[in-house]
Symmetry: C2
């Protein structure tokens, strides 16, 4: 007994900065929420097929157009438009798997992408950073490293998006080598490669193979890398994107295809049109991946919100955004594809607005069974800022979602009918045997919610959740531990990056 | 044309303080989210029937026990326990309607209670008020009036709960007359009567009949009044509550029956047990209403959250609370009863925590098709405070829910294929004819979300949503207009209240 207590004290001394959920597989076993009745979903499908057949998508790359032409698409090299018969399109899309696994250098953190599995991703693509101590500043390497450490620390963050934060203080043509090296040393989770052209994704593929200690052939059978291909809505697939998509498909690595559409700007102003247009854009690009490599692991992405029609500003976390997330899942299921969606907001600060907007899009994303939920921690200001405080708040909110989805145990002993007799009518259950056996794990224990009495909370400085978050991210950074990486692999990665920087010089990767 | 413009200018001058949604019927046409698979739901049902049959509920009122005995329940007057055969119970519960209408003095604001209809209710039962200007103070008449005006102003508030705020500066034995008079003059919406004993609900029934200009007999056929009956969990129905329930049933008025259960305190520490116990308590009390008046309009209430087992504090908006809301709806549908649930939080201030907790419970409430969602605007600090700023934020969040649930229009012209040609690949849709025809109503226009650029937002004082809410509730109070009430009815109401105060004197109502 004494020995046991001693160990408890030891572990109390070495207690982590934050008590959090373990690494876990989050599954949504509930029926997805579906705003479109089946016949309306079919109408959206049908209209998107009209777009594919009659309007087409402008594909800027000759290589990509040639690939489409080879399988019988209607390709016009002078206008650059690609159109396709719907049956041809659907046959190609049907070659894509309905689920696949991404295995990072730590195989315990492999992700199933598809089915009911929910994976939460870090904010990505932000040009600026913000925290309450240092204010708003352009993205830079030091902050990039901090965000990677924060994302590694919290188990509820399943993957990193493409470029958590811009590293504006690094040369643009080689920064992908620095950030990939950081991603492969400071975390052992799945991360996205920057999808600008062939060179960058090739480097990412080569480096993840080194980090796993496997060959490129082995990597093609067990993908690690994944990237995000944005269609330039309306209806343009540019060369940088199609090159990246082709390369990743060739290498057997993961892809998400995501038309980024703000209704009223990049699509017509209605939900029906936005869904149909984005669907056409996504499917035509997904078809390209299947031309390159039938069975290439690809995710149906949707990222549809609306503009503020008074100002033209982008908005996120609106009712329209949440509904578009839900419908995106319906469409992904329609084509038996994994689904990528997002949780975002457009607030200028880490306040109630940032929170309710994120909750709107997050609930939509989780209730549509979003397999990869991008931007789910740290996103602020419509994606212009990665926020340290918002990251902490979002992690708490993601943990709430994971706990919400936990199945209810209805085994006999859970009902505790004996304890109802023990407590008696009008009594309480604090001390019943049934409670004592379970109280330590009965409920989710948050790290940020403050449930103290108003008196105690006031005596402790009356701190808001945002103020408490400032304390927490600092503690977490102190507490962060780098995941083990074999020294030879680390050296090989450093060598690869150095060699490539030399090769690239002032040119393009 | 000029005349038209002139009118537009006039209406701009007389513009309301806040642009808001019109009064509307909010329906959730989507399939409800159901955490329990059917066989697990049946197990919860079965265990709750064991509780009804074997453990029973302690019913403190002899009158109520006699009513149970008359229909064949197992009643023990010395222990005060009432037990009941499950078939007898279910037969009684089956007499209750699956939906009914509550008609306030303004029939345009009648509420359907049941089916897919979602009605949002004002915070109620709070002992304190708070706003950012005046701080936290005990509930009082002046603040009560302000909250009633705010709830009347916003169309998304469909009804008022029982006592929006305590009026501690009024005598306890007659304050229900003052507040009912205020409710019947300053608003024309449905409100709840305070359910302490026969006297108070009788006064409420009499006064709503006067306000509608109808007889008590007519009122019994067209209910206006509704009250909330809390079971004192675990398993006690006290006399004040059963007297109020019996009276309301006799008068044909609305009832919600709501065991207030915090898992770990008033129920065993597990979700399965909490649902089974609360279900037993609710159904046994609902049965009482049907003994008094078969077909009495009654709502299945659930209000289950958990305690913080480290401190014993109540918590709201937890994953457990949201899940309990969802399961509550499953149980209500199981018995073909309308459903009451809640949207709450336990934060000490109007911050991100208050917001994500409310969103958790609110999404649970809406996605389970909660027909009456209590406390959905203004609740703070676990119900100890009615907050002016939180009220404004909640109204915005409720409007988001209403907009989210709006069906998607998939008529041909909505798809705007012509506008896709007009915008062209790589173009934008800001100026297309399709956009111009729709832009004014295409998206929800919030009144609190701020989507300006960081530069503009900073130049305007960098105000958080909570700070902006302080400005808004003040403007709304200035803008409030009292709904018309015929002078003779107003006088009759004042007369009734005065006469009753005289009758009551220092006694009980």
């Amino acid at each position: 007994m004494r020995r046991g207590r001693g160990r408890q004290q030891d572990s109390a001394i070495a207690a982590p900065a934050v008590a959090q959920l373990p690494w876990l597989k989050v599954d949504n076993h509930w029926s997805p929420v579906e705003p479109l009745p089946p016949e309306h979903l079919e109408k959206v499908h049908d209209k998107s097929m009209e777009i594919v057949e009659n309007l087409g998508v402008k594909v800027l790359s000759q290589t990509a157009r040639d690939l489409y032409r080879e399988v019988g698409a209607d390709v016009n090299d002078s206008t650059e438009f690609v159109r396709m018969d719907r049956q041809l399109l659907l046959d190609l899309v049907a070659k894509a798997p309905d689920k696949f696994t991404l295995t990072p250098r730590n195989p315990d953190k492999a992700l199933l992408v598809g089915g009911n599995r929910i994976n939460f991703g870090m904010v990505s693509g932000t040009p600026n950073a913000h925290d309450a101590i240092n204010g708003r500043r352009p993205g830079n390497l030091a902050d990039y490293i901090k965000f990677i450490k924060l994302g590694q620390y919290f188990n509820i963050i399943h993957f990193f998006g493409n470029q958590t934060l811009s590293t504006n203080d690094l040369p643009a043509n080689t920064r992908h080598l620095d950030t990939t090296l950081i991603n492969l040393t400071l975390t052992d989770k799945v991360f996205m490669a920057l999808s600008i052209g062939r060179g960058r994704v090739t480097d990412a593929c080569n480096m993840v193979a080194i980090a796993r200690g496997i060959s490129n052939e082995e990597l093609a059978q067990s993908p690690t890398a994944i990237t995000n291909i944005n269609v330039n809505s309306p209806r343009v697939l540019d060369t940088e994107m199609s090159d990246a998509a082709i390369t990743m498909a060739e290498r057997g690595q993961g892809l998400t295809v995501t038309p980024f559409t703000l209704m009223g700007a990049m699509t017509p102003v209605t939900m029906a049109a936005a869904c149909a247009q984005a669907n056409a854009e996504a499917l035509l690009t997904i078809a390209l991946t299947q031309i390159v490599r039938p069975g290439a692991p690809v995710v149906y992405g949707n990222f549809t919100s609306n503009v503020d029609l008074r100002s033209g500003s982008p908005t996120f976390g609106t009712p329209e955004n949440a509904k578009a997330n839900l419908i995106g899942g319906q469409l992904a299921r329609r084509y038996k594809l994994p689904h990528r969606t997002s949780a975002c907001n457009a607030s200028n600060c880490v306040d109630a607005q940032a929170t309710w907007e994120t909750q709107m899009s997050l609930w939509g994303a989780v209730q549509t069974h979003g397999n990869m939920i991008y931007h789910s921690a740290g996103w602020l200001e419509g994606g212009l800022v990665a926020s340290f405080e918002k990251f902490i708040i979002d992690v708490e909110m993601l943990q709430y979602q994971a706990e919400l989805l936990k199945p209810v145990d209805v085994s006999d002993e859970e009902f505790g009918l004996d304890s109802m007799v023990e407590a008696g009518a009008g009594g309480h259950f604090f001390g019943t045997a049934h409670t004592m056996e379970r109280y330590q794990t009965a409920f989710h224990q948050p790290f940020l919610s403050d449930w103290r009495t108003n008196e105690n909370w006031t005596a402790d400085g009356a701190k808001t959740a945002t103020e408490r978050a400032t304390e927490i991210w600092q503690k977490v950074l102190d507490d962060y531990e780098e995941p083990v990486l074999e020294q030879d692999r680390r050296e090989a990665l450093e060598e690869y990056a150095a060699k490539r920087k030399e090769e690239i010089g002032d040119g393009e990767p």
